[in-house]
Symmetry: C2
Subunit: 670 residues, 2 copies
Amino acid sequence: MSIDKLFYPKAVAVCGSVSAGKLGAVLIERLIAGNFKKVYAINPKGKGYMETEGYCSFKDAPADIDMAVIAAPASAVCGILDDAGNAGVRAAVIISSGFSEAGYAELEQEVIAVCKKHGIRFIGPNCAGMVNTSCCLLATLEAAPSPGRISIISQSGAIGGMLMAASAAGSLGIGKFVSYGNGADLNATELLKYLADDNDTSAIAMYLENINDGRSFMEALSYATSKKPVLIIKSGRSEGGKRAAMSHTGSMAGADAVYDAAFSKCGAVRVESLEEMLDVCGAIDSVKQLEGRRVAIVTNSGGPGVLTTDRCEKVGLLTPPPSEALRAKLKELLPPHAGLANPFDITVEGTAEQYGKVIEAVLLEYDAAIVIDIGTPYLKALPVATSVADAAKKCGKPVLADFRVGVDIDAAVCHLNENGVPVLPSSERAADVLANMAKFNKASGKICFDFEEKHIDKDFLLEYESMRLFSDAGICMPRAVFAKTADEAVLAAEQIGYPVCVKIVSPKIIHKSDVGGVKLNIRDEKGVRDAFDALYEIGREKDFCGVIVVEMLNKGVEVIMGMTRDPQFGPVVAFGLGGIYTEALKDIAIRVAPLSKAEALDIISSVKAYKLLKGVRGEAPCDIEALAEMLVKLSELPFVYPDISEIDLNPVFAHKTGAVAADARIILKK
Amino acid sequence: MSIDKLFYPKAVAVCGSVSAGKLGAVLIERLIAGNFKKVYAINPKGKGYMETEGYCSFKDAPADIDMAVIAAPASAVCGILDDAGNAGVRAAVIISSGFSEAGYAELEQEVIAVCKKHGIRFIGPNCAGMVNTSCCLLATLEAAPSPGRISIISQSGAIGGMLMAASAAGSLGIGKFVSYGNGADLNATELLKYLADDNDTSAIAMYLENINDGRSFMEALSYATSKKPVLIIKSGRSEGGKRAAMSHTGSMAGADAVYDAAFSKCGAVRVESLEEMLDVCGAIDSVKQLEGRRVAIVTNSGGPGVLTTDRCEKVGLLTPPPSEALRAKLKELLPPHAGLANPFDITVEGTAEQYGKVIEAVLLEYDAAIVIDIGTPYLKALPVATSVADAAKKCGKPVLADFRVGVDIDAAVCHLNENGVPVLPSSERAADVLANMAKFNKASGKICFDFEEKHIDKDFLLEYESMRLFSDAGICMPRAVFAKTADEAVLAAEQIGYPVCVKIVSPKIIHKSDVGGVKLNIRDEKGVRDAFDALYEIGREKDFCGVIVVEMLNKGVEVIMGMTRDPQFGPVVAFGLGGIYTEALKDIAIRVAPLSKAEALDIISSVKAYKLLKGVRGEAPCDIEALAEMLVKLSELPFVYPDISEIDLNPVFAHKTGAVAADARIILKK
């Protein structure tokens, strides 16, 4: 059923007490102040409030009411919804609290049931309400925002309120706002889908504390980012933060790195603070055409230029020097002591005209510009602002500004903001905005979970069975043969070619090395027979099945690959270099499965020890393509085999040509 | 000579044209607007301006002038200074540019000479001037700041101007401000010393691009931090930033990590941006009594609480849960659904009284509190603000606030700021302020460079000479004996005890291993003789001197230690774990020598691979005390031996008990 009625109702009924200071009264005040035309009050006494007429029940009230905004006590909510549903209402905003968040999960289930019966779609309960500035609808207790085209979805009412208060105080314009509270019906995923298709929304900003169905959320998110930028704050990043989020929402926050991986896979940008989110949102119309990470810094003073360069490089932007041709051109435009190496320092004597010409020149070579004008209290800034805005318009590339000090500084800032050059509180924050926007171009995209499934009808897999499964899937494993007797083992070793490794096969012995169940580097028939006998001795009291004879591998650079299932996002793949250093340094990267080849190359290059794979001290690089292909295949296995719970390939040897998984472990679901 | 006259002149003469729009006129306007009483104009025409009288020369002007503010063309500056000096002026602010920064270093030398002749102390040239709000002195082109007790030293005029403009617009009060430009006389070091002793200055904020005499600067800095907090922005952190700083100041920026190490050693706090600096300065009087890193977060809404916890942990603060006793106490104070696990969420229903009581309770257990109040547009915030400020006053510990939204929010924010509870633009930025202030407690202090020097009268040291030097200095080395013949070598091996290692001694062979000049693990007399003969064969065409017979060491965890001389700060010590991973990951830490034991322990624990020294996978830890003692001794060697240019101890084996430098290399100065 469409949720349009929620955002574009014809008439709204506020349900709850309208006595002075009660939430019903406040809601009516806010709706009327917002200029929404058709507001009614429904409460047991049928009391009206201000110019709003009051009724005891929906059946007495005008028939055009299509949305109920409920601020009555929790115990009354189901009755109100039933009454509303009988009268044809199909949308509700349930602000009342006292449901699952307070330990009354059953009451929330009743609300869901009543709404289902009537086909009512609703927001809440325990929410801060919603706003649609395009139809003057202010069904919330929060501040009234400036109208605009950024829409907000917030799991926290207070955070939503802070964003709206910031909008009210500044230049950021808000389209729609929803605080969905307990999310008993509409939640982040559905709202995201709706706003993706909403023509009044140019970008979506979200505040999340947890997600319950990660895969559906990812599908909605990658759909939304294909249409418009999506910014997300996901709190609970730290251990302490997770504890706080748990006590706040009563639900476990997923492992933070997986959220990073999921958002990034879907092309969304994760920011850390409201300030960062507001900065990006305020600049979004100007910066959404950013095509690369090369930034030119145009300044009239050295110090701020250097600080901005430092910040750009810290946040992953590039500030390369100009080409010789550009440098020559700038030399003509600027005085002799100007800085021509990026930052482009037009010096304190730089004119408005020079600003404009330099911006036009550098934007032929760079993807964006940060323009800094630090004036003096007795000179004008507006002429510079005008010239900068004109140049930016001509170029059509993102230009952000930091303008400070000047007789007419307010007019200058206003002119820039209104003419497509957002002014940030500092040039460093302008750099942060560009860095965030540059991430939108990195969506890797493969959000396809359709694979032909195969079932494993066993309780566990023996090592050689795991090895065969991987080989069948195209993951390169050492040659291995199962042997039940010493004679068979000798035959196998001869087929494979010496030296070989002989390992015990015994379902009850999991950590083979610990009990001496692995014999390495065996060079002849006698060695194989001795190994077999020794392994038989180890296993005969248990459940000795035989041995596997395995090819001895040339060692390469050791890497590790793994797959686990995340409770929110399903299968995730981990990659890192082997060895004690990587373990101590936690130099492991994680991605949500399945991986495209590009994503696999990305995860490999994202670990700090990547340099070792590319070759240090003059060594040739490892076969990174082969590793990437192995990761892609690994990432598809959990979809093909739903019975697999975990996989470890440890170690995998990366060679100059090819890569081989030397050891493999599969854990099946219980 | 005292520089008091610069900050507290009786009368000021502005030298330079006073025609409309000229700098002389602007300076007089600013001085008069600032309410400085005795201002005169000196220029070739003897023109006055506004109520200021004009004279052609100092000798014609009133005798009480004790400071010249010069904005005349560069070519006229020396003449003006000579004239001023003859008239008894002993202080000058040279705003004029066109000196070393523009390629006219000789003219700057002339300025220095004239001033030396007359005993004039000066700021500049090429500077933005100075301010002393305590005597209404505004000898600058920048904005007039609000008066207060923070003093600013800025190498960049524009950055200084931005700080002063921020002060003018906000609540931050400035005492003294100096932009020293080319620093031909007074520079960062001398100004720092002066402000350290200045009773009108409660904290010092500095913007630096480069430092020329790092050791003197460090002495001044550690003196200053013993008196008051010092905050530093040192730009040029990134590669691009360094390029920019170079082109800006014409001087090479030192290696950035060394600046970090030097500032931290002296107890100063390095911040990254003006915003961060302003935040700390604005809160400094409240936060300077911070004693630890345990922060309580008191909030009325969950979302902001979680975000603040995330930020605290990211910036190195601790947000531990409360003790059971505190929890029990809070349970009595708060409603049933309140969050008691830090963040302390008093919920949207929390009252002003509850805020106060919770703050008083938690500050018995925590070092500081961040208090968040996200109101609604229709309720009052001032009662909460009053209660919070009262509680903070009672506790005497730092309390920072993030207050937003409310009918009377401006009054609430104002009340907090005026009553010792600084309000930050966000709770995350409050966390940043506390994190920065917590660093002030980490000054390690040992700024003593007095050692008895010994000279090395040689062009180079042979390996066994280096080893003896280290042994004499108390650094544990393997036992080693020099042997000129095979018989001597056998005798040496027997003294040391087998197995031994035999190395060639041949001044021309530096990389001994590369030519087969090292024979390891020799177990008997025959082995020693064979090794000697083989080494003789390798060296006899060159300059074979003999061999050293060296004890074979048990391998431990490999670490590396080194000493180099930084052009700005002198001897610095590096520490890292050995091996290819550390190299690829650049996991090396650096400190300025000499090191105290505490600093040595700190550098060891600051490398990411520190965990390996503490023991992983159940291993016993290495003897970290022994490593620290070795680092202390290494850090003193460059002072004892001024002829040593570089030292490498690589590898050093860290054992469960003790640590031994297995190989040592000394490079002498040319």
